[in-house]
Amino acid sequence: MSEIKKGTPKRGISVYSYCRLLGYTMTLDDVFEDMYDAGATCFELLANHIENYPNPSTQWIDHYFHLCEKYHMQPAEMGHWAETHLHRGPRMSDEQILANLIRDFKLANLLGFKSLRTKITCINEYCDPEPEWEHLMELALPYAEKYDVAMLSECHAPTKLTRQHIYDYLEFADKHQTKHFGINVDFGTFQNQWPEDIYSPEEMERRRSRGYGKPDSWSQPEDIIPILPYSKTCHAKFNYVDENFEERTIPYAKVLQLMVDNGWSGNLVSEYEGPGREDAAFLGDQLRRHHILMSRILGY
């Protein structure tokens, strides 16, 4: 049996991490400069980070590409929503839903994105999808192929990688033999530690009520292996990186090594959504620590 060639994932950052700063005390230019300093070479943008979404001006588009060139950044993933209930009352028609998806596909293609973090409408906090999801994705697939984007549904805590709908998604991709549908694994699904110096009792109570932190409620690192062929971009979620550049809540070394050993070379975008995001100095420091952590595991 031939040996699997080691993967070389690209280190990136999700602009979402700056969501409590962008537009308040930081511009998009500042964000790109910050990502560059952390050693990131790719990024995730949410649709709303595009000025005047869904109709950015040519001036903004030019400036966006100027930032990509200046800071040597590749577009990795665009976050968008496959809305099916934009107005009150009944579900939107297939035509309406599809038109919005195609609009986002075109925009992603224009801005150089190959991955989309597609939020499929779901019915609970575990993101079990609306029953009509398969029909909708079948309608969307030809357009995703045309605009060369992959719709990646996020597996985000408290959802485990072994939840039924994840298997259903993989089965869908296999059935249609497509690379334009898959999974974005948010590393928060592997969180197995809640240190008392990071999480207060009140915070833990709040999280437990939302399904986090209960015994056996997280994914095991090995659970990512069968997902890898269906994933182009993952959210390298972190909660706190300490002064020794160790992440104390998620088994980072194990997860990354498994990905590399199984030949995965996708985009790893750092994502921080914990407290302190309004403090630019704190957030910038955490993102830099996170990239040093990843670079030491990856070797680059």
């Binding site: 930081m26 952390a38 100095a281 910038g284 420091d285 620590r289």
Partner: protein, 154 residues
């Protein structure tokens, strides 16, 4: 936008030659003064990083995209350093700094035509007669140290 610190977090990294070798490192700074300055009013001092003094004569100041030595700035009455804009300080240092935390300080000041006497040294060899204002006169009385601990990644 600019942080409310003399030494900025963004812009701190080593500087590479085309062949991949490192010739120095850079960081950004801001005067935090309420107004801008003509370059000829600015008095650039030494950079001190991890206790190592990098003399003012060796530093390169990049303001609005143009490099200046300390000496060259004396005659630039035509270049205005806009308020809240940052300057990039480039420090020659073969091999650069190691990845990790560093304490970065920049000494500086400026001259001003009010609220104080004229600059005593007509050659401008001092740090001027004003700044940096390490304690802002706000209700909170916040302190702004001239040195800052920053993390260098590359």
């Amino acid at each position: 936008m600019t942080e409310q610190y003399f030494v900025q977090q963004r812009g701190f990294h080593n500087i590479y030659n085309d062949d991949g070798t490192i010739w120095g490192f850079q960081f950004k700074m801001c005067t935090l003064y309420y107004k801008g300055l003509w370059l000829s009013q600015f008095r650039a001092g030494d950079a001190i990083v991890d206790g190592v003094v990098y003399p003012k004569e060796t530093l390169i100041w990049n303001i609005q995209g143009i490099d200046y030595s300390r000496e060259e700035m004396y005659d630039r009455m035509d270049q205005y350093w806009q308020v809240a804009d940052t300057a990039t300080v480039k420090v020659p240092c073969p091999g650069g700094l190691k990845q990790g935390y560093h304490t970065v300080e920049i000494q500086f000041g400026w001259i001003c035509n009010y609220n104080a006497a004229l600059e005593p040294d007509p050659n401008g060899n001092t740090l001027g007669i004003m700044g940096p204002y390490t304690r802002m006169s706000t209700a909170a009385g916040s302190a702004h140290p001239t040195e800052r601990r920053l993390l260098l990644v590359w």
